[in-house]
């Protein structure tokens, strides 16, 4: 344990754990988007053969977990711990998936930030020697989220241009202490930031300060800047949040020219009518597993920062007029173990 280093909020692994395998499963709209070819599995019907949208999300997760374990040549019983979460109330999508998976399970809720949170914790568990194989699994389902957070699906409403589209997708990563990479070199768990944005249809604006805060803390802790990386990926800031992130970092004297947002990569925002971009716990998870990690594995990227951002409100706090707190967790990912 003493060989690990923690500076400020950033945990740097002396023996970086490896994301040995990863998988991404998507629904209909994701299958029409620019990343379609990079998904492991896509479905035409977002019911995934189930009767309710809640069951559909669990089914989606199960597909993702099963195919990722298969790719990793790993049996469920070899998994020491599964860290996962989703957007449903009380995290039921994941809990109900885990009814049929006989693996220790710790449920996480970080809204759309859950994937970076799960992989970050998985890296800590494996690097610390507490587990040999940890799975990180998250999902979101447009229909399940819509009926829970907004309105019935057949209700006629026009979306505002700042609204984001909940992805119907799931991503899974298997983390081990050793492996061929990509490697998790460092993790910075974010602090909650709230700049009094109350508009539930403008989550990007609510989350951007948290993302900026985490990046700034990582930079201060490590002495690096975004320019040291091939790319800085954020999960789900969308158009609005991406603009704001660049603006906020500029004010702090940090230039951000290599930024990409998962919510803007997953969909073609000009033609797919997703307003300000994608969101949801499955959005950054599936983009990580379908796009970012494969690029690291193919050495098209050497070093990237990956942040998932989450808006931590509920329907109740929103109706009570509370503003929306945001959080962002950062992973430093590398194709090489050393350096």
């Amino acid at each position: 344990m003493s060989t690990q280093q923690r500076t400020g909020d950033t945990i740097r692994f002396s023996e970086p754990p490896s994301i040995v395998e990863f998988g991404a499963v998507g629904g209909k709209k994701e299958g029409q988007g620019p990343l379609a070819a990079q998904f492991d599995l896509l479905f035409e019907e977002n019911t995934f053969g189930e009767e309710t949208w809640e069951k559909a999300e669990s089914r989606l997760q199960r597909h993702c977990l099963d195919l990722t374990l298969k790719k990793a040549h790993c049996k469920p019983e070899q998994v020491n711990l599964l860290l996962g979460g989703d957007l449903q109330n009380q995290c039921t999508a994941t809990a109900y998936t885990m009814r049929n998976v006989d693996v220790p399970f710790a449920g996480l809720y970080g809204a759309c930030s859950t994937m970076a949170e799960a992989v970050g914790l998985a890296a800590c568990f494996t690097a610390g020697g507490f587990a040999d194989t940890v799975a990180a699994l998250t999902s979101s389902h447009f229909c399940a989220a819509e009926r829970q957070f907004r309105t019935p699906l057949t209700y006629g409403a026009k979306r505002t241009p700042t609204a984001q589209w909940t992805a119907t997708a799931s991503g899974c990563c298997i983390v081990k202490p050793q492996g061929d990479g990509p490697y998790v070199k460092a993790v910075t768990f974010g602090r909650v930031r709230d700049y009094e944005i109350c508009d539930i249809n403008n989550m990007g604006a609510a989350m951007a300060p948290a993302a900026a805060e985490t990046i700034l803390r990582y930079c201060a802790d490590t002495g690096r800047t975004p320019a040291d990386f091939d790319a800085v990926y954020t999960g789900d800031l969308g158009i609005v949040g991406s603009r704001l992130l660049a603006e906020l970092l500029k004010k702090e004297g940090v230039a951000l020219h290599n930024h990409k947002d998962c919510g803007l990569l997953l969909y073609d925002i000009d033609t797919q009518e997703v307003q300000a971009g994608g969101s949801g716990a499955g959005c950054s998870a599936s983009v990580l597993a379908a796009h970012v990690l494969p690029m690291l594995r193919r050495k098209e990227h050497n070093r990237v920062l990956f942040l998932s951002t989450g808006a931590l409100m509920s329907q109740i706090t929103f109706l009570q007029g509370e503003s929306i707190p945001g959080v962002a967790h950062l992973l430093e990912l590398s194709s090489q173990r050393e350096g």
Partner: protein, 147 residues
């Protein structure tokens, strides 16, 4: 970060794309107008069939409600509304949509706690405040009449 929420509010307003006002209004005008026109055509045809003025209006409204319920069930009303905005929200068809859509949606939570209880999730406030206002007006009107 040394930014105040007030400063951030300004930044986020700048960064947020605005609604396309003209386009939204044209859609609302066109679709809303068309639904009202359909209502008028229905009303006139019920009048021609010998209904009284009040009954013809009521029949026209009920017909629009049924049309809205059918198109809602098929998922078409939502698709039109995604473009038409207030054009599909404000007419009586929007009211019917707001009753029928939760009824369909919450069927999975059962007919009593789902369909029955949640049917007026969106339309409830309209009925509550509409009727409350009418009761207030009734009392005032009653008072005026005695003057």
């Amino acid at each position: 970060m040394k930014l105040t929420p007030e400063e951030y509010d300004g930044l986020s307003k700048q960064a947020s794309p605005k609604s396309k006002l003209l386009q939204d209004c044209l859609w609302a005008f066109g679709v809303g107008g068309a639904i009202c026109l359909l209502g008028e055509i229905l009303r006139q045809s019920y009048l021609a069939k010998g209904f009284t003025l009040t009954d013809a209006s009521t029949m026209a409204s009920v017909t629009l409600i049924v049309i809205s319920a059918v198109t809602t069930s098929l998922g078409w009303y939502q698709r039109l509304a995604a473009k038409a905005g207030a054009g599909t929200l404000v007419p009586i068809t929007g009211f019917a949509n707001s009753v029928v859509s939760p009824a369909i949606e919450f069927k999975s939570e059962g007919y009593v706690p789902g369909v029955g209880a949640k049917m007026f999730l969106i339309a409830g406030p309209v009925i509550v405040y509409g009727l409350a206002a009418s009761a207030v007006w009734g009392v005032i009107y009653c008072f005026i009449r005695t003057l």
